[in-house]
Amino acid sequence: MKTSAVVSDSIGPNLSTMGEEKAAALDCIQRAQAGDVDAFELLYREHAGRIYALCLRLKGGDSTDATELMQDVFIRAWRRLSTFRGESAFSSWLHRLTVNTMLENARGDQRRIARVLPMDDTSRLAGAARSSGIDLKMDMEDAIASLPKGARLAFVLHDVEGYQHQEIAEQLSVSVGTVKAQLHRARRLLRERLER
């Protein structure tokens, strides 16, 4: 059984039971909530890599779109910090905000979704994979980037990020059956493209 990416990770008032790392993270969040931009930069430095990787995959490997989306996410995160209550991990909150921001932006500009992916758009993803020492991943990133949008969303959120069907369905406002169907489609297409 997959483990949910949205772990119930209470950042509550019981500081004595927290590790130092968690307490430092909470302190950073609270300072940022109070308007401390330097504290917010620390949060950015800690989470930007994961959010950017998610943005790149959601955007089919287009580094320009991914950078724009990531900036949008962190600007919105700053403006909505007061709504973060600690019911979930901050990273999970940011992940949800990323998916929601992408969906909101996509609704406002459908033309960008339909845009043909340039050949070199996955270069950054492929480069990151190569630097991790696993050459096969370059093909995997290219194949994910080539998936239809719905299938790509389902695959990235479920198989790469670890969300459960129900969580994805709620975020995308579709049924669990639709998520499963898109996931099945994504895996089938990936198998065709990677193993033919």
Partner: protein, 227 residues
């Protein structure tokens, strides 16, 4: 269960999402079916490769500078509002309509300033109309664009300050009054956007107001070329 039914359950089988009751017959079938066994192997390979992908990729270095600039402007806008800065509008259901109406008025006012002065300077070329530029599609795109607007406005303001003595006093007065009105609209929209960042209407309004300001300043600066 038939082969076709079981094939539709293989995704859930490999990710452990079948109930025990459903899992047993699927496992029995896979043990006897080479096609399904191969499909399970293939699915496992895809899922394993997805899990091996790097979870973190360094973003472009300049991204934080853009984010920080937007954050600092938000803080400034909210601080100004909280300290009772001169706001023409109050947040509420009428703010958007009032600001939208203001854009129309500003367009007319800018044209009036331009046409009044231009009557004495028929040879001055008209600047391209930046109001026709595309509105940025997202908050991030707007943030980058806003940085450009602010730099251009600063350059134009320096130019106008140097050339103020070349303009008729009534033109200068009308320009300053119009710019004050525009700045109030910008502050109002900026503050509203800080509180409602997903509001595309506000992004469009703010973007349009910046373009109006640049257009007015650019046209006024061009008037002095022929004097």
């Amino acid at each position: 269960m038939t082969h076709e039914v079981i094939r539709h359950l293989l995704d859930d089988y490999v990710t452990g999402e079948l109930t025990e009751d459903a899992r047993a017959p699927v496992a029995d079938h896979i043990a006897a079916c080479a096609i399904c066994a191969a499909e399970v192997e293939s699915l496992n390979r895809i899922i394993a490769r997805a899990a091996e992908l790097p979870k973190s990729i360094d973003p472009p270095a300049e991204a934080w500078a853009n984010i920080r600039a937007a954050v600092e402007r938000d803080k400034e806008a909210i601080a100004r509002q909280d300290t009772g800065a001169t706001l023409r509008f109050r947040r509420g259901p009428y703010a958007l309509a009032a600001a939208a109406a203001l854009l129309v008025v500003l367009s007319s006012a800018g044209t009036a300033v331009y046409m009044n002065a231009r009557s004495a300077d028929a040879g001055t070329p008209i600047a391209s109309n930046p109001a026709n530029a595309a509105t940025p599609a997202s908050l991030a795109a707007f943030t980058v664009e806003e940085n450009t607007y602010l730099r251009n406005v600063a350059v134009l303001q320096d130019l106008l300050d140097q050339q103020e003595s070349l303009l008729a006093p009534e033109t200068v007065a009308q320009l300053k009054a119009s710019l004050r009105t525009i700045d109030e609209a910008i502050l109002e929209a900026r503050t509203a956007l800080a509180r409602d960042p997903a509001n595309k209407m506000l992004i469009e309004m703010l973007s349009g107001t910046y373009r109006q300001k640049m257009d007015l300043m650019r046209r006024t600066a061009e008037l002095t070329r022929g004097t």
